[in-house]
Symmetry: C2
Subunit: 780 residues, 2 copies
């Protein structure tokens, strides 16, 4: 697997970057190596990739000018070049024309990590010198700034003292900074004429980074001997200069501070942070995960011991948000561009490009002819409140209900729509809400059959109370068969569902209950416990509601427009399920239902920051039209449609579509589609192996399993009989966090006795399989 | 005033940037000028700042090698250098050693804008060539990338074809991009050896920007004549090459597309966007402001005519969010760094540096010994819901109320806390909420005296219904006198307030009402209409509530800890008032009250993106402790404590503090403090002139005025008697938007008959005075 961030307690590791080529990276590296040696510290120098004659290579230079050349023996000093290509051109091209091995990017990082790991116990310093400028390509053409980012080694930037060097240095610094590197010092040669150091010292002072100079090198000499002699003299003179001593001391301090800060974070957090959804009496500093940084599918988390960081697979997708990977440079650049172009700008009665473009793009993306309008808010909860305000008003206006008519929502048992009061009121009483002082569930929630794989067999399970209506659990050949709604609609169960739903609604009407919306999480109920609802039941529910206005209003009403809602406005909460989370742009498409209102958040920004879009039909929109200003939809947050969020969302939607279009998920899909009809061009699939799911569902500790899109949910048997307090899932979670290797573990979240996992849309097969592997071991 | 973005319909304006010095900016500029001329287009070349011998200057070069040198006469071609300094070093140093005039940054932009403006009607092309690399300093040392950003002219980047040039080019591109520049084409010389163009073409293709090459220049010639001859031949050959024709056509297309996009935005938005708080029947495309970009205090908005953009003062601070200016590069860099380092990472039971650092910093910032915990959410509404959940639970536990006891909040009439249902329920019925289907006001709201300047006199106005208790309106010598609470507490009105409040609460208790929190917007009620509440009344209210537990519970209870709440938990909604909005870190400090819970958003991120922090006391926190997981505070959004938001907030708090500490607001303060006691080191002040406020309050159309911190609120007389539907404020708003100059206007928002203005914490005196000036004219 890919290497993660490296941080060893006693090995102070820094990476030397150049603001340009030919700025003296190797000279400063040599000075730093020598200065450290002079303090009797051990030193490891690594040049991962070098081009040009090996004689002139930086690692040879370092060795040649080491203060004490005999110290190699006792490991006090070592200088390594990992990959050397002969042509003195950029590494990608030099590697390509050579006959030598070209390491993959990940492999190169692993090599570096291994060298450091072997060196870690000896302690001292390690300096890793890059080649050329910050964006000079590595052996596979990747910009070094991106290539080395997973290691996140603190940087020393060698600034450019030549004409134009101020600009080169600041631009290079920004390119490192925006990727999440910490630049800990800046060094450059003096130059009496250009005096770039004056401006640069002032600039870096503002950024809290020391910037120091050493005297200019001698002019190139005609004789090599003379040149070496002068070089040696330079090193003798400057390797112990107070300037370099100060810089080394600063770097040591920053290294120590970083560790101290990381190690103190859990206890400081324990005393200052009020955590969401966390009973503080059950929390202790040891249980708080300190996260140093993150990249792709992994957090870099603090662990005990000498190697302080390990890669933790982000098993909950950071509360279901992650799609395009942590620290994604494209999303970062989109965010920065919008921050630079707009900051945040007023949205009411104004328009800016990202908000408009995202609205247009999202409406196209959802392929739902009903949806024509986008309303922005900040997160799923607020987006649901907006949706409910929309739906209730539309129903009230259509049916002519007065302001005192109490309206509820129709939904499913176990649904959950967010933590604001209005969103909470959309769900039936549960541990999530019933103790909240102002909570008052407003609606009716149906029970329903569920889908999962049990003992290797795909099943639609019917809860005992519903068996009188629908019969016993039904086995299916495959998940694809369960999702084949067209075929199943022709069968008997669909009619059973419709009859049951109709009878229930009649009873509710006769009790005088009024409803203003059908609110569903399509296909999967997330927070309620990762419940995979039989899609046929949801389809039947929508169908009955839409075809039966008489069940909701005395004055049944069929509008003429085909895109207008009938019965009740149908609201889909796609905050969790939408935007490829379940393998498709929308979960609605799995149900083949076009909702009247659709709510999108979480993956909307690819996993970077909060934004929500509630899309609605023109028919719903028009319900708020009147001559009275106060009939408008009275909702709007200060940062509504903030440009940064909208820009990141545009980039995310584009990128997810591109992944889809270019077949990025084909390898995953193949494990699911072999048994499906070949003409099904939108198959049901998951990044989790079909065979893994089926096999796992047969384990003794496992009750049921399902996987769809990037989600895997495993229900564990409650062997203790403790119900909600069962520790079955907690035990598995703990075993995964303990991990089976020092450099790797799995961070996950549980919901009661369900442990679930969420890959991103850019997760590799390797990542996913590694999790499956460890799950196989843990679930024995 | 500062120049804004320039965009002329017929003058296709581009800025030529170099990825490095010596990459051929002037050669490519000449090629572009000549190619445009060859198409019989008019051309304007501008070199704003040049260093070195005038003979060798770029503007001379351009003229020397113009295709048709005789075309100057009919304005077909013009080449200008605005500032020439003789020494061939960086412009800041060259300017410093010269005896010549050094233009301020703003003045330089204005000069450029004027040249373009004069040229606009002629149409054609304008090319503005920068000096050195993207971050090379301008004449005052500002990086050019920042210096020229207000003009936001589309960029042509001349890439570096030399060794290391790939890195230099990408770094330069990123530095432009993250400031919100649109880079529309990339040009460079061919180089058979380094072949940077291969990698760069692939890179820019991914970014949707064409990258093209021209052949390398000839080697420098010993004879100047020979050199000129070869140069001329080069231009003759390449000025009409298909490559340059294609690039020019692309640039023309991008220019036209930008205008087309801008001009179509209002109607597209009108058909696709569902606007917050907007009655759609009253909206038409003409009323929608198209925002191209923003910088500092100004939006760049679309206007009719040939000059398509003007600077619009962001009078509502983009719904009260703005503090450190639009497009602030520091906030952008903080956001990008966090996006690169983390993306977003899981927060429940985890910790990352920005979230922890912000919590610690905010607790210190608020100087409230009661507050010890920070809970994160996404915006003010959710932060208030969190606060209410906290307070109600604490009260219920303390007083042993059962789950069926209905609890309300105590507050002030006209208060408003956000648009989610729970936040809405905290306010009394009003136009904002009473039509919302699930709204149910839960509480009691006091009436109170208010503060404003009326006819030049600072007054505490008593509403008629309260005059029996408090007497008539009271005049004061100054706002400072009204805010001198220590002195006023000794007076009779304080006792009157206390008696009235106590009697009211007794009556409520006797009616069987139960309350779980006192919830206040300290000093100013925002959305309720910019109401400046008499701070003495708020102080009395807190004092009575805290000292009278017997008014709220049968089992009155005084906890022993001095930091524990008494009576009821006191919640301050500082979403609008806090973090220097009213001139202090907190509005609580103006009241000299330490709330038990304090909610912060809006300015928390300096105006960039949504984030909220609810700070609470340890005593409140402990109310949620139990052995039962479900007693925890059940609230948490997916992006809780997102790293980007927290990092931007840290930067914002630091920067606002720095502004405070370095006396950035001293000039503003001086207009308010001359009459104050000299020993008051935390004066009451505003960025709006005291004399302006007093003078304006005497205008015939004006009812009352107040200013505090960055806020100015003007209540207009409702001459029509139409009440809420009065158009008095709307008329002023329209006059301000019409503006008094083609390049400038004021965008503002109104609340009923109140028009208000909100400067940022980095607004200049010039900005503020310009608004005051136009207000003086409009309010005649």
């Amino acid at each position: 697997m890919a290497a993660g961030a490296v941080l060893y307690r006693n090995l102070r590791t820094f990476q030397i970057w150049g603001a340009n080529t030919e700025v003296g990276k190797t000279v400063f590296s040599t000075v730093l190596c020598n200065a450290a040696r002079a303090k009797r510290d051990r030193v490891q120098y690594i040049k991962p990739v070098s081009t040009g004659n090996i004689e002139d290579a930086d690692s040879s230079h370092i060795r040649r000018f080491a203060v004490d050349r005999h110290l190699d023996k006792d490991d006090a000093f070592s200088s390594l070049c990992l990959h050397q290509y002969e042509l003195p051109i950029s590494p990608d091209r030099a590697a390509a024309v050579s006959k030598l091995h070209i390491p993959q990017d990940d492999a190169l990082l692993t090599e570096i990590a291994q060298v450091l790991s072997q060196r870690a116990e000896l302690g001292g310093w390690a300096f890793i010198e890059t080649a050329g400028g910050v964006h000079s390509p590595g052996p596979n053409g990747t910009s070094q700034a991106d290539l080395y980012r997973p290691l996140r080694v603190p940087a020393v930037l060698i600034a450019d003292s030549k004409l134009g060097g101020i600009s080169q240095t600041i631009a290079a610094y920004e390119s490192l900074k925006i990727r999440g590197y910490d630049v800990e010092s800046v060094l450059l040669f003096e130059d009496d004429y250009y005096q770039n150091d004056l401006q640069l010292k002032a600039y870096f002072k503002q950024h809290g980074t020391p910037c120091r100079t050493l005297p200019k090198l001698h002019a190139p000499q005609p004789s090599k001997e003379k040149d070496e002699e002068l070089m040696l003299r330079y090193y003798e003179k400057h390797s112990q200069s107070p300037i370099i001593e100060e810089i080394l001391a600063h770097m040591k301090q920053r290294h120590d501070d970083r560790i101290k800060n990381l190690e103190s974070m859990p206890s400081r957090a324990h005393s200052k942070i009020w955590y969401p959804f966390t009973q503080s009496t059950m929390l202790s500093p040891e249980k708080i995960t300190a996260i140093d940084s993150a990249r792709g599918d992994y957090f870099q988390t603090l662990q005990k011991g000498d190697s302080l960081l390990r890669s933790s697979f982000d098993g909950s997708g950071s509360w279901w948000t992650q799609g395009l990977g942590h620290g994604n440079p494209q999303l970062m650049l989109a965010a920065a561009y919008a921050a630079g172009r707009y900051g945040h700008v007023m949205f009411a009665e104004a328009v800016h490009e990202p908000a408009l473009q995202l609205a247009e793009m999202l409406l196209g993306y959802l392929s739902n002819p009903r949806l024509s309008r986008v309303f922005y808010s900040d997160n799923g909860s607020t987006g649901i409140e907006v949706a409910v305000k929309m739906a209730l008003r539309a129903a009230r206006i259509r049916y002519g209900w007065g302001p005192n008519e109490k309206l509820g929502v129709l939904g499913l048992s176990g649904s959950y729509h967010g933590d604001t009061m209005g969103a909470m009121d959309c769900s039936e009483p549960s541990t999530y809400n019933e103790k909240i002082e102002w909570y008052e569930g407003k609606g009716f929630w149906f029970s329903y059959p569920t889908v999962s794989c049990v003992d290797g067999r795909w099943t639609v399970a019917v809860p005992p109370a519903l068996q009188q209506h629908f019969g016993a659990d039904k086995p299916f050949r495959s998940l694809a068969d369960i999702m084949d709604l067209e075929r199943r609609e022709a069968g008997r169960e669909y009619e059973q569902y419709r009859v049951f739903i109709t009878q229930t609604l009649k009873k509710l009407r006769d009790e005088g209950r009024r409803f203003g919306a059908l609110l569903l999480e399509p296909v999967v109920l997330g927070a309620g416990g990762m419940i995979f609802v039989d899609p046929l039941f949801q389809r039947a529910l929508v169908s009955v509601v839409r075809s039966s206005p008489q069940l909701f209003a005395d004055d049944a009403h069929f509008p003429s427009s085909s895109s207008a809602w009938t019965g009740l406005p149908v609201v889909f909460d796609e905050v969790f399920t939408g935007l490829y989370r379940l393998g498709r742009r929308s979960a609605a498409s799995l149900l083949q239902v076009h909702p009247d209102i659709s709510v999108h958040a979480k993956l909307l920004t690819g996993g970077l920051l909060p934004l929500c879009a509630t899309a609605a039909s023109e028919d719903i929109f028009r319900a708020f039209e009147s001559d009275d200003k106060s009939d408008a939809l009275l909702h709007g947050h200060s940062y509504t449609a903030h440009a940064v969020g909208c820009s990141v969302a545009i980039e995310s939607l584009k990128e997810m579509d591109k992944l889809d279009a270019t077949g990025a998920w084909d390898a995953f899909k193949r494990t699911w589609t072999v048994t499906q009809e070949s003409n099904d061009d939108e198959p049901v699939w998951s990044v989790w192996d079909k065979s893994f799911v089926e096999e796992t569902s047969g384990r003794a500790r496992v009750d049921a399993v399902w996987a769809l899109g990037s989600v895997l949910a495993i229900t564990l048997k409650d062997v203790s009989g403790a119900g909600y307090k069962s520790t079955a899932a907690k035990d598995v979670q703990a075993a995964l966090f303990a991990g089976d290797a020092p450099e790797w573990n799995v961070h996950s979240r549980i919901l009661g006795n369900v442990i679930y996992f969420m890959a991103g849309q850019t997760s590799t097969q390797e990542s996913v399989q590694r999790v499956q592997e460890v799950l196989r071991k843990v679930l024995v």
